[in-house]
Structure formats: structure tokens, C-alpha cells
Amino acid sequence: MATAVLDLDFKRLPFDISNLSHYTKALLLVRYNKVPVGQLTIPVTDGRIIISEHYISLLKAVGPALQENKINEYLGWNERNVINYVQPSVTVAVCTRDRPEDLRRCLDALMQLPNDGQEYIVIDNCSSTDETRNLVQKYKAVRYIYEGKPGLNNARNRALLEARHEIVAFTDDDAIPDTGWLQALLLNFNNPLVMGVTGLTMPLELETAAQELFERYSPFGKGFRRVVHSATLHNPIATGKVGAGANMALRRNVQFEVGFFDEALDAGTPTHSGGDHEMFARILVSGYRIVYDPCALNWHRHRRTTEELRQTLYGYGVGVYALLTKHILLEREFSALKIAFSWFKHDQLPALYRSLLRRPGHVATDLILAELRGCLVGIGAYFTSRKRAARSKSL
């Protein structure tokens, strides 16, 4: 059981794709002129897919975004373009911890990006060996920075401080960017109210059952239409559809206008995750905007083993509830209760139900229970983590 991940252009669709004997399914990302317009999963038969057999489902999957892109191409018009646009300068930051193999792949891909004078930095967040440092030193264009305080948000804050350019683009060490990724992010910083831009994250591979489950249960992708998020559009603390830290860019002056990342949140702390979403919420509450643009594409390698997946889902539960607890107790954002309830009612409960009834395509019960257990732990985790962060500061 594995799913092939394929990247196709609508204008140059092949008749068939073979050599897929290892796979039972294929996830197709369909683009039009490099712009991602839709995705669909189709079965692989005898190691081969014939595109025309699935043409109707393909058209259905790409429909609205395809038409929009065709019209814009015909008109030579782009909604992102403004009359007086000056492309901002950018620093690309990779935060990493003890993952030299992933980091190497990420850096190799970054070196393939077109050169617009961007700066590259790697923030090494308390790696236990010298491997990360030695690896980064092989790349002349990359600046190595060691951050001794554990926690992904500490690393992100360090990146905001160290960056020399106007925009800081973050990519996870286990992701690789598409060639147009950076330019697509930058094109959306076209007015002063845009404080952040997020992009589409697709799976790099779906080789194991754990990876397939993750992609089905909590995919990173937020659709194929560009959305300008603001406090006027929706509740600013409901940031589930805004994007994720694995693929985001912020103005460096976010640190002055909105503040730094909350060091009590995210990986490397008792809260495990949620640091990116807390920042998104604060940006929106402050009256700034975050653009989600599917053109800013990167590919993320999901965790390969079920045990890692369980840890990830547990971590999500902890992080989300830690964040919601913070919202309610420290910021009087009582609508956080509604968010927690609707997550439970619309996602977690149905998944649990399907799993207990062994419906096809269900997620294993213990994984869902791990996430729910994380939620319970999360309520207290924020304050544990804050105390720990305060203690490490005073030392």
C-alpha cells in the first residue's frame, strides 16, 4: 500500500504514466502554467494510470481555479499585481534540530531557487551533534546560527532578529520548495497591511501507511484559491485555514508591530505545536492581513512510522488546546470554546465514530485517542511551558 505523488501540467497531460507497480493509488497535483489548480487521487491499475480514463474527475477537481487561470492568462492580468510594486528583499530561514538528512535535501532544493539576492540562514536549535553545523558549512551561501534555547519559536524569533532583509520566509527542514515558491510568496507583499503570506504544502511522498493517514486526516493544503485573511473576513483566532509554519513568510518588522513568537508554544516545549497559529491570530487581531496563495508551493515529507504519526497527532492535540487555553484565560477570547467544540464535533467525533465502526478509510482508533489525550494534556501544558520558559530566562 503506497500512493505515488505526481506533479502534472494541464497543458501537457501525458496519455499514460507507467512504472507505478509499487503503488496502488496516485495523488495528482495538477497545474496550469505552473500554478497549482487542483488535486485528485486515482487508482493505479497494473502499475499504470491512463489519464483519459479519469479526465472527468480531473476536470471536476481543477474546475474553478482552472477557469480563473485561463481567463487571467488570456487577459494578461494578475490579481496580485499592483501599479507601484517594488519586490522586497528576503531572507530564507530554516529552523532545524537533529535532522541532517532532511536538512540536506531542503538546502539542496533551496540552492536551485532563482537568485534574486536572497539571504539564507539555518537556525540550529540545540542539535545534539555537530552534524548539522558541518553540513551547513558546506553551503557557501548559507549562514549558520546556533540557538541554544530549545523551542521552535525561540528559533523563529532568532531568525527574525538575525535576518538582514525585509521579509523572512520560513520553510521546515523536512520540506522542499517548488522553484517558484519564493517569488510567489513575495508577490503577495503588495500592500502595507499584508504582514504574512502562507502557501500550499503538498506531501513529498506517501510511501507508508502512516504518511497516507496523515495526508488524509490532517493535510497541510488549504485549497487552490488565493484567500486574503483578515479579522473582518472571519474570527481572527480561528486560524485553521490560514496556513502553517512549514510554509510562511512574515515581514521582519512583525516583531515591532505585533510582537515575537510566543516562546512557550511549539516543538521543543511541553506544548509541542501551535506557535505558528498563535502568531497568525495575533497578526489578524492587530488588524493586519495574511494571504494564503497556493502558488507558493512546497513539498513536505510526512513522518514515516505510525509511532511518529502518533506523536505528531498527540502534539497537535496538546498545541491546539494549549493555544486555546491561552486565548481564553489570558486574552478573554471566549470564542475559543466554540472553536474547540466545533473541532470536536465536526472532525474528531466523526473520525472516532468511523474508526470504531471500522468504516473504509478510517483512521486507527489509537491515533485519534492520542490526539484527544493530547487535547486534555494541552489545557495545562501552556502554563507548565510558560513557567519553564520564564525559568530559563532568569537563569
Partner: protein, 408 residues
């Protein structure tokens, strides 16, 4: 004779004015090629003395007048100006070093040009949701003008930082001094009707210190309501571009009409109610109920606007007459039949054709297929080639897609 005259009306804001003048001494544009005219309008805080004692490298002319309002002050300034271009600047604008240069660069391209500068705002002491909304509101005004294919209207003229040729200003007759509020919109309307070419210049940047707060914004709505009646009396057709009419025509129309009745009958009671609801905003903010906060604020803004309308129109009958007049004028006016534009031969050619005729309304076709109709919009600039792609992409993408598919 200088190339450009900077005209600054001021009213009892000595320290802000000093900052404004200081910023003008550090321009990239040569000092000896512009003059500065300060019109002290009813100042009694020692502004004139301060100006006379000022040792400034600026070629400074000082005009004093009794408080006649900003419109009149700007006209007085313009009458003394020797430059072939006029730049109007408010007394609380700190010019960036490139402001003058950017204005002149745009003005020299087209004698009918009206250049609107960028006024990023520096918020002073506002708090909470209002602060974030205020920033969004300010920036959005300029963000939309920077969009490709933006169609300018009279409401885009902001008197704080704009320039035009002295000849055009004279031809149009200057500001209408009867308008004490929204005199910039009124001038903007006459300029648009005279075929002036509005443009936005983000490099013509001046920082604007914003001191307003929520209560002052509500008061301002009252003034705008009053100005709207004045507008409607002078230009019956323009009423469709004012918020009042869209409120009447919308689904809420009847509710507003009822509200107006109550406002006419018992203004003191409705005022107390509005003030009480204003306090309720604070509770909503404390509870972080942003949506409800926004809806209530919109209602309060509408209330004070209508309150201004009611006060200025004097009585119910008169207001209804104004509205009826507007209704009767709807769809009339000097609008010719829509211009028919065929885009089948390519967008570039269609743009050239549109630039040649510059109609007020438009029927767009693709060969035999009908694409869409662009309404005449009173108070907006005529249609130009530069508008076409945006109109097609934003309003008629579906019908254009059908036409393109069928054509193949």
C-alpha cells in the same frame, strides 16, 4: 517665478505646522524652485508671530485671514501663488524628502493631471479594535488606488496632499467656500466632470499624525450627513454616490426611513439611546466580540450620519423632496447610449479603442457573444483602456470564459 507653490492652510496648530515646514526644507526638489504659502485661518495661538520670527530657507509667504474655513484659506493661498503647479498640503503632514519631486514628476506628464499623494498614518494614542480599524481604513484608501485598472471617483481626492496645475485650478474656479466639510469631494467632483486625470503617487509620501478617536469619528459622521444634504442640493444626481441613498435603496431602506421619522420627532431621546449604545461598544470590546462590535459601530455611524442629514434638511418634507428629486433624476442625465466594444480582435486593440472614445458606459462583446454591460457611474472618471482588463477579470470572467470556449 517658481515651478510649484506649496499651499498650507492652518488653524491653531503651531507645533504641527513647524514640523510640516521643517520637513519641506529637506526636499530632493531644489529649494529655489518652489515657494511655500501658509494661510493662517483665524489663528490666535501665535502662529503668525511664530512664522514671522522663523529663520527658514523656504521662500515663505504668510497670509492672515479671519476664520473662513480650509476651503477659503486654500483659495486665498492659490490666488497669491506664482507657481505653474499648486500643491495643497495640510498643516499636520510631515513630507518625506521625495514628496515634491514625485508630485512634479507626475504633473509634468499631463496638464490635466491631479496627483494624489500617499498619507501613511501615524496613530496617536488610539487603543483596541478602533485603532486596528482606523489603520485598515486609512491604508485601504490608498491600497485600492494602487490596484491596476482602478477607476477613480470624486471621493478619492483627499485635500491633505494633492497637486494640480494652477491653470486647471483656476479654470475650475477653486474650492467651493460654502462647503465646510467634504470640500475636497466637492472639488473632486468638478475636476472629474472636467475630465481631469487622477493619479496616485505613492512616492509623494507624507506622514499624517492621526489624533481622532471613536467619539470624534462619530461626530464626524454627523458632519458628513450635513454635508451630504448640501451636496444633494447642488448636485441632485450625485446623491447616488452618497451613502445615504444606498442605505435608502437597500433592504434596510424602510428601517432607515422609520429611524429618520423618530429622529425628526424626538431627537433628544434618540440621541440618548445612541449615547447609551456607544457605551455598550466598550462591553462588546471587553468580551472580544469583534463582529457584534463592528455591526453596532456601523449602526451608530449610520445613526449620526442620518442625524446630520435630518438637521441639515430641516424637516421631513424637504428631505423627502430631495430624495424624490434624486429618484426622478435616476437614469437620466447626459448619459449617451452605451458604447459598444468588441474584444474579439484582441484586448490590446480594444484598449486603444476605449482610450480613443473614453465613454461613460460600455457594452462589451466578443464577436456575436455578449460579455457584459458597464453602468454609467456618476462621479467616476470615464472609462479608459487601462480599466478594461480589470473589469473583464473581476466582473465578467464567467461570460468571457463561455465566449472563449464557444469560439473554439
Amino acid at each position: 517665478m517658481k515651478l510649484i507653490s506649496v499651499i498650507i492652510p492652518t488653524h491653531n496648530r503651531k507645533s504641527a505646522l513647524l514640523k510640516t515646514l521643517t520637513a519641506l526644507t529637506a526636499q530632493t526638489f531644489p529649494l529655489n524652485n518652489f515657494e511655500v504659502i501658509v494661510v493662517a485661518d483665524g489663528c490666535n495661538d501665535g502662529t503668525t508671530e511664530m512664522l514671522e520670527g522663523l529663520d527658514s530657507p523656504l521662500g515663505l509667504t504668510i497670509i492672515e485671514q479671519v476664520g473662513n474655513g480650509a476651503a477659503s484659506a486654500r483659495n486665498s493661498g492659490a490666488s497669491k501663488a506664482t507657481g505653474s503647479f499648486l500643491l495643497f498640503l495640510d498643516d499636520d503632514i510631515e513630507a518625506s524628502p521625495h514628496l515634491l519631486e514625485a508630485h512634479v514628476l507626475q504633473l509634468q506628464r499631463n496638464p490635466k493631471r491631479v496627483v494624489i499623494g500617499y498619507l501613511p498614518t501615524i496613530l496617536e494614542g488610539q487603543k483596541g479594535i478602533f485603532r486596528t480599524k482606523l489603520r485598515e481604513w486609512w491604508e485601504d484608501m490608498f491600497i485600492k488606488m494602487n490596484q491596476q485598472g482602478y477607476r477613480f471617483s470624486f471621493r478619492d481626492l483627499l485635500s491633505g496632499n494633492f497637486s494640480l496645475s494652477a491653470k486647471l485650478f483656476k479654470e475650475i474656479g477653486g474650492f467651493n467656500i460654502n462647503f465646510k466639510c467634504q470640500e475636497d469631494y466637492e472639488l473632486g467632483l468638478r475636476l472629474i466632470q472636467a475630465g481631469a486625470s487622477f493619479t496616485f503617487a505613492p512616492q509623494a509620501l507624507g506622514y499624517h499624525h492621526e489624533i481622532t478617536n471613536l467619539d470624534r469619528s462619530l461626530q464626524r459622521k454627523y458632519q458628513e450627513g450635513k454635508a451630504a444634504v448640501q451636496f444633494a442640493k447642488e448636485y441632485p444626481s450625485i446623491i447616488y454616490a452618497l451613502p445615504i441613498i444606498s442605505q435608502f435603496n437597500s433592504w434596510y431602506g424602510r428601517t432607515y426611513l422609520k429611524q429618520l421619522k423618530y429622529i425628526f420627532k424626538w431627537p433628544s431621546i434618540t440621541d440618548s439611546l445612541a449615547r447609551w449604545l456607544r457605551q455598550y461598544l466598550n462591553i462588546l470590546e471587553w468580551l472580544r466580540m469583534r463582529g457584534s462590535w463592528q455591526r453596532l459601530l456601523d449602526k451608530l455611524m449610520a445613526y449620526w450620519y442620518l442625524r446630520g442629514v435630518a438637521d441639515a434638511s430641516g424637516n421631513n418634507e424637504m428631505l423627502l423632496t430631495i430624495l424624490k428629486d434624486a429618484k426622478a433624476n435616476e437614469g437620466q442625465g447626459p448619459f449617451p447610449l452605451p458604447f459598444i466594444l468588441d474584444i474579439k480582435n484582441g484586448i490590446d486593440k480594444a484598449e486603444i479603442e476605449l482610450d480613443k472614445y473614453q465613454p461613460v458606459s460600455l457594452t462589451i462583446k466578443y464577436g456575436d457573444y455578449s460579455i457584459g454591460y458597464v453602468d454609467p457611474k456618476f462621479g467616476f472618471e470615464n472609462l479608459r483602456g487601462g480599466h478594461l482588463r480589470t473589469i473583464l477579470a473581476k466582473s465578467f470572467a464567467d461570460s468571457l470564459a463561455h465566449a472563449l470556449t464557444l469560439d473554439k
